[in-house]
């Protein structure tokens, strides 16, 4: 392979610039590399995640309304902050926490593409999320309980059952 700058010498410096998954490859010879300092010649301008996102969203929008169908669709809008789905598609940002509810039907495909998932499985706020935390713990305990029963460990199973009841009472009180 020859140097893409001078085209005379063999390319010995191979460099790939990767920004948010977009790759640009450079193949240049050592003397051109030296001449340019360490700058990579011909590097394209920066690539913003927001422009990528809004690209995805626009596509989403076109797909759901169809050609020429946009006018007939009622405007999808967040009641709390007033942001419309069309505006959201353009800027790639939400206006408030209620937007997630307002645009809920359209979010799954987008989140799947960005994160390969649509459901949170991380940290839960301690104070406001107490109930959610209890629910998750109960689910886990039920799985453990099932396992104990299958292994005929009834003593442990009884303990787990008591713990589950205790948590269920706690949820009722919250």
């Amino acid at each position: 392979m020859y140097c893409q700058e001078c085209g005379k010498k063999p390319a010995t410096l191979h460099f790939t610039k990767i920004v948010n998954g977009e790759k640009t490859e450079f193949h240049i010879c050592e003397s051109c590399a030296r001449e340019k300092g360490e700058g990579i010649p011909g590097a394209p301008n920066s690539f913003s995640i927001h422009s990528l996102l809004s690209g995805l969203l626009d596509f989403e929008h076109m797909g759901s309304s169809g050609v020429g169908g946009a006018a007939k669709q009622p405007v999808l809008r967040c009641e709390d902050c007033g942001l419309t789905y069309t505006q959201f598609s353009k800027i790639g940002r939400f206006g408030c926490s209620s937007c997630y509810q307002a645009f809920a039907d359209k979010l799954d495909p987008l989140l799947k593409r960005v994160h390969s998932s649509t459901i949170h499985s991380g940290k839960i706020p301690k104070r406001s999320g107490g109930q959610i935390q209890c629910k998750r713990e109960i689910e886990q305990l039920r799985r453990d309980l099932q396992a104990k029963i299958e292994h005929e460990d009834f003593e442990s199973a009884a303990e787990l059952r008591d713990r589950i009841r205790e948590l269920e009472r706690k949820i009722a009180d919250l």
Partner: protein, 361 residues
């Protein structure tokens, strides 16, 4: 004249310690994004709403609730000069977005500058924790502890299904962005970097160069961070980043060994040449200085140069940024004047303090 401590010293207190793997990993960082439930996100907030958010969140620090985490200073962005803001950005203590575009922006800064809590950035609250070397788990533990304190005082926008709700859909769920800053000169010199970095992007991580989004990797410094925030727990995200970074570290170590075995003379020449130029040049642009400093850092790590410490180089990395130069020399400068001043500062740092400028060669 500036009154803030952060703009006097290029090297944050936290950077003075050596972390694990500090020959390759410069720093580890975790940023957590949170929003308040009953306020519009900063993008659509009115002046009054932004002010309310700022008051509510700065109150957490001012009422002493963060005391168990160290001592903190609250800085209102509108009280700072443009130059002060720039210096904060160059030290990675605030984002360019907070410096330039925020409405009622503020930052709560810990004494050693390892914690910076940004208010009214793209999200209401962004907690950032920085550690020297490879300590990504430690950074998350600290960030999570600070998060708990804020959660006691504020109703977070949280949804059972989507997790922590953020302005940008790329942050929703955990709201966590964990990253390690790595110095990878040997992988670049041995042309393995592209292969490794493209493998990294295939496991849900992103790579970018130092200083600024989408910029090329100046000075062989690469920031590797998680891309996915939804569907994985924080620990899964941290573990994934940790194990990938661990592998990159091993590759870089192997490449350094190979450089010393197969092209020792060439490597030594490169290092000493850069050391010589930095020690004596009169004009130094930012690009060249980043590359030469990378060579010198590699030389120090490989034992080719023995009178240069990583701290000196970390300090230079920040000191040679435009805002900091201007701050140091207390004058407005054209880009050309900056290149003179940069060269002067590097000469002083490399030759002035220790010995008589002779690399131990």
């Amino acid at each position: 004249m500036t009154k803030h401590r952060f703009s006097q010293h290029a090297l944050s207190e936290w950077m003075k310690d050596d972390g694990p793997e500090s020959e390759i990993v410069i720093s580890s960082r975790v940023r957590v994004a949170r929003n308040l439930r009953h306020q519009p996100f900063p993008l659509l907030a009115t002046d009054q709403q932004s002010k309310d958010v700022m008051d509510q969140l700065t109150e957490v620090s001012q009422s002493g609730k963060l005391q168990s985490m160290g001592s903190f200073e609250t800085i209102i962005l509108s009280d700072l000069s443009e130059l002060d803001k720039r210096v904060l950005v160059e030290k990675h203590l605030i984002s360019p977005n907070l410096a330039n575009e925020s409405q009622c922006g503020a930052v709560i800064l810990s004494d050693n500058e390892s914690v910076s809590i940004m208010i009214n950035e793209e999200d209401h609250l962004r907690i950032q924790c920085l550690y020297p070397g490879f300590q990504i788990q430690e950074a998350w533990t600290l960030a999570s502890g600070i998060d708990d304190i804020f959660e006691e005082a504020a109703d977070y926008a949280f949804d059972e299904k989507r997790g922590y709700l953020t302005t940008c859909p790329t942050n929703v769920g955990t709201g966590i962005r964990a990253s390690v800053m790595m110095h990878l000169p040997a992988l670049v010199l041995t042309s393995q970097i592209n292969r490794i970095l493209s493998a990294v992007t295939q496991v849900g991580l992103a790579v970018r160069g130092l200083y600024g989004e989408g910029s090329e990797a100046l000075g062989n410094l690469f920031q590797v961070s998680n891309q996915i925030t939804l569907g994985q727990s924080e620990n899964e995200i941290i573990d994934n980043l940790y194990s990938v970074a661990r592998q990159i570290i091993e590759h870089e170590k192997a490449a350094r060994k190979r450089l010393m075995q197969e092209s020792r003379l060439r490597t030594e020449d490169r290092v000493k040449r850069s050391y010589g130029i930095l020690s004596y040049a009169s004009i130094m642009d930012s690009k060249e200085s980043a590359q030469r400093l990378s060579d010198v850092r590699l030389g120090a790590d490989l034992g080719i140069l023995t009178n240069v410490t990583p701290q000196m180089l970390n300090e230079l990395l920040v000191m040679t940024q435009p805002g900091f130069l201007q701050q140091t020399f207390d004058e407005k400068m054209s880009p050309e004047q900056r290149d003179f001043r940069r060269a002067e500062l590097i000469r002083k740092q490399l030759r002035g303090e220790k010995g008589h400028g002779g690399a131990s060669i």
